[in-house]
Symmetry: C2
Subunit: 65 residues, 2 copies
Amino acid sequence: MKNKLKVLRAERDWTQADLANALEVSRQTVNAIEKGKFDPSLPLAFKAARLFNLPIEEIFQDEPG
Amino acid sequence: MKNKLKVLRAERDWTQADLANALEVSRQTVNAIEKGKFDPSLPLAFKAARLFNLPIEEIFQDEPG
DNA sequence: TCGAAAAGTAAAGCTTATTTTACTTTATGA
DNA sequence: TCATAAAGTAAAATAAGCTTTACTTTTCGA
């Protein structure tokens, strides 16, 4: 699953820790998701969508399989 | 997390088993999600969105908290 | 009303998401 | 260059999603 978290962070000049804080998850979770190590839960995806005021599909891109 | 799976099924006259089959998960998983016992994974939410040709947010409604 | 299909439920087990701790590597700015 | 912040990584532990099996309850049409 690809995502635009890094870009969205960059646009706001946020660190991974800043984003983790805003999403109420650990910094390592943000890092792992950005690096594609695992997918966020649906509730976390919703939280990111609310935070960035974007649809989930614009932040996360599934690779259908 | 609320969702419209039951309605979307009804519109198509699908059983839980039919939907489970289309989503490639077990019938119990569909049942549990419909009944709000747990949230689907993000990949599964994407699969449902593709299946019904709807945005994730129109199928699943987060209760922010 | 009876039987079958659909829905609901539950436990055990496996997989994946997330945390915590802790360390290494990379970028950055004084 | 050197110190520090940021990013990357990893292992162990816990939580949540999902499967399989199996059983009970509800729905519904003949």
